[in-house]
């Protein structure tokens, strides 16, 4: 485990990020299959969620087992404001981010005093409570059967709710989220978070206000989730509480860990692979859950740092080959 991952030069990562985003941008021209673009849109939502979770878990070392609650809150705020009160979706998106951040602040201030396992347990509880509210406030949320007739995204009179429009709108937010995370990891705050992750006591001794930073990063990661929630609800025009249960939080955590916790590309790799995997496992009718579990156990047992190191090893090997050839 490289503890100095964040002090590495940033240039290669900005480069690989641009290549990745360029690839995402031209992909629909290469493969205009609407079904597949839809799935890739959802993969983008998961990338955004996992990147948000990774800045909390990977950068700051604070485990959350209730992240899906903030995703759900963002989705419901945006969905209820548009479907019940007729707000424009773009304004509702902003409102859902603000609302979710306020709730995250209220949740984070008491719970972030807890450390390690105890924080994980408290966030688990928060997630379950939110889930109960989504089900029980049936007048607003539509109860267990969900909220229907949520409008698609539009700016003024220009509708962007087509498959292609959703794809680009989602991935534009993903691009912003990824750039934000990359910037964060190189900033003063990123270094402070890394210190907290290494040792909270040591960080405090060095003058880092650990509690304040933890609350800030908790709220920031909830903001990522809120955007993802709003994007989700306006792309499928429907939202139901089952999407945001405990297993969903676990799935997000799994994506981050399988991809490689703390690594910049980890959540991207994990979210893309694990959200696309069920599509391919669908061929094994009835076996898919079992296979999914086995893959998860296998990756954790034999690649404990996730899949990201695999990719960076490839890059290093590629570079050393280049150098060997170039240097003669």
């Amino acid at each position: 485990m490289s503890k100095y991952r964040y002090s590495q030069a940033t240039a290669p990562r900005w480069f690989s990020l641009s290549v990745f985003l360029a690839f995402v941008a031209v992909f629909p021209a290469v493969s205009p299959n609407a079904y597949f673009l839809n799935i890739l849109g959802f993969a983008g939502i998961y990338v955004l969620l996992c990147t948000g979770l990774n800045i909390l878990m990977g950068y700051a070392g604070q485990v959350s087992l209730g992240h899906a609650a903030f995703w759900g809150l963002g989705a419901y705020i945006s969905g209820v404001l548009t479907a019940k009160f007729g707000w424009p979706p773009v304004v509702a998106l902003a409102a859902s981010v603000v609302g979710t951040c306020v709730v995250a602040l209220a949740v984070g201030i008491p719970t972030l005093r807890l450390k390690g396992h105890y924080l994980a347990m408290a966030t688990l509880g928060v997630g379950m409570i939110f889930h109960t509210f989504f089900v029980q406030f049936a007048d607003l949320t539509g109860g267990p059967s969900g909220l229907v007739d949520v409008p698609s995204f539009s700016v003024g009179s220009i509708a962007i709710g087509t498959t292609l429009g959703n794809y680009y709108f989602i991935w534009a937010w993903v691009a912003i989220g990824l750039m934000g995370a990359l910037n964060l990891s190189q900033s003063r705050m990123g270094r402070a978070l890394n210190a907290i992750k290494g040792s909270e006591i040591a960080a405090e001794c060095m003058g880092v206000d650990t509690y304040r930073y933890k609350v800030i990063i908790f709220v920031l990661s909830a903001a990522y989730a809120a955007i993802a929630g709003s994007l989700y609800v306006h792309s499928i025009n429907f939202v139901a509480p089952a999407t945001f249960g405990f297993m969903s939080s676990v799935l997000l955590l799994t994506m981050v860990v399988v991809g490689g916790i703390g690594a910049f590309w980890g959540p991207v790799i994990g979210a893309c692979i694990l959200s696309l995997l069920p599509e391919y496992l669908r061929a094994y009718e009835g076996l898919e859950v079992l296979l999914y579990g086995l893959i998860l156990v296998g990756v954790m047992m034999f690649m404990p740092n996730g899949l990201a190191p695999l990719f960076s090893n490839l890059r290093l090997r590629f570079r050393s080959v280049n150098r060997a050839e170039g240097g003669g």
């Binding site: 347990m121 379950m128 029980q136 860990v257 156990v297 047992m301 690649m303």
Partner: protein
């Protein structure tokens, strides 16, 4: 008054099951530091195995119950050997995720073999309910509470008096030192996992006649048991069981006082409040290092 007693009895019945699951959590947590998210699945699997043996194979009920418990104990043992034993980097977070994966594997396997249809098990000694101070008590509820208390006492005695139990407590207080003293911490981890699976299966076997069971039945029971363990204190078997009883009673009263639908929220609210006020649990000692002072 009768109504309150009725609620209390149903709360204590489900609470005993939470308590048993919590005891299983404690065993694994104390020897390995891992929160075993597969614990709830063992409960479900125990009920499934016993129901299959009873109605599928046509075995007599007592044999089917014993089969349910022992087959799941064996599965727990094998699962620990295959996952914890072979992991490349047995760090706590990794192992926790391994147990989550294990839970998904068990659920997926059960869904594949038995399908999604609920299974039932006959009550151990008939359905005719007894009257206690005007409240109706089913014989199965007495079985549940009685067996749970017995198991809790047995586990408590084992942890306190036996050599293996003492070794487990040593491992939980300091793994490194325990291992230097010649305590085989790896083998204890296997043992605790198998015993926890067995206790979970037993909880599943005794509650299935009341609630039935199906492939997705384990997750929520597991989470509630986990809450119970926190409420009572992870380090203490009696505390964990007490936590289960409190949780069951709180849920029953919440549901009975018109808050039906909110009983899950009550359980988890209790968890959060307790974490903030007394993170080491009701009977958990001081546990100062678990919270950072701000």
């Amino acid at each position: 008054m009768t109504e309150l007693l009725q609620l209390l009895i149903s709360g204590l019945t489900i609470g005993s099951v939470y308590g048993l699951v919590a005891v299983g959590f404690c065993m694994v947590y104390n020897t390995t530091g891992v929160i075993n998210f597969a614990q709830g699945e063992f409960v479900m699997l125990g009920g499934m195995m016993a129901a299959t043996a009873s109605s599928g194979f046509g075995w007599p009920l007592p044999v089917a119950l014993v089969f349910g418990v022992f087959s799941v104990t064996l599965i727990g043992l094998i699962a620990e050997k295959l996952t914890f034993g072979l992991s490349r980097k047995p760090e706590v977070l990794n192992l926790i995720i391994v147990t989550i994966g294990l839970a998904i594997v068990i659920q997926g396997g059960v869904m594949m073999i038995w399908g999604t249809f609920p299974k039932e098990l006959p009550a151990f000694s008939g359905e005719a309910s007894l009257k206690v101070l005007g409240a109706r008590v089913t014989p199965q509820a007495i079985w549940v509470i009685g067996v749970s208390v017995l198991i809790m006492a047995a586990v408590g005695f084992f942890m306190k008096k036996s050599v293996t139990g003492t070794a487990m407590r040593a491992a939980s207080s300091d793994r490194g030192t325990a291992s230097l003293m010649g305590i085989p911490v790896g083998r204890l981890s296997t043992l605790s996992f198998a015993v926890a699976a067995g206790i979970g299966a037993l909880a599943g076997v005794i509650i299935t006649p009341l609630t039935m069971t199906s492939y997705d039945h384990g997750t929520l029971i597991g989470l509630k048991g986990f809450c119970a363990a926190i409420i009572g204190g992870m380090g203490n078997v009696y505390g964990a069981f007490l936590g289960g009883l409190i949780l069951g009673a709180a849920e029953a009263f919440a549901a009975g006082s018109g808050g039906s639908g909110y009983e899950d929220a009550v359980a988890f609210l209790l968890l959060i409040v307790l974490l903030l006020v007394r993170p080491s649990g009701l009977l958990g000692g001081t546990g100062g290092e678990r919270v950072v002072k701000v």
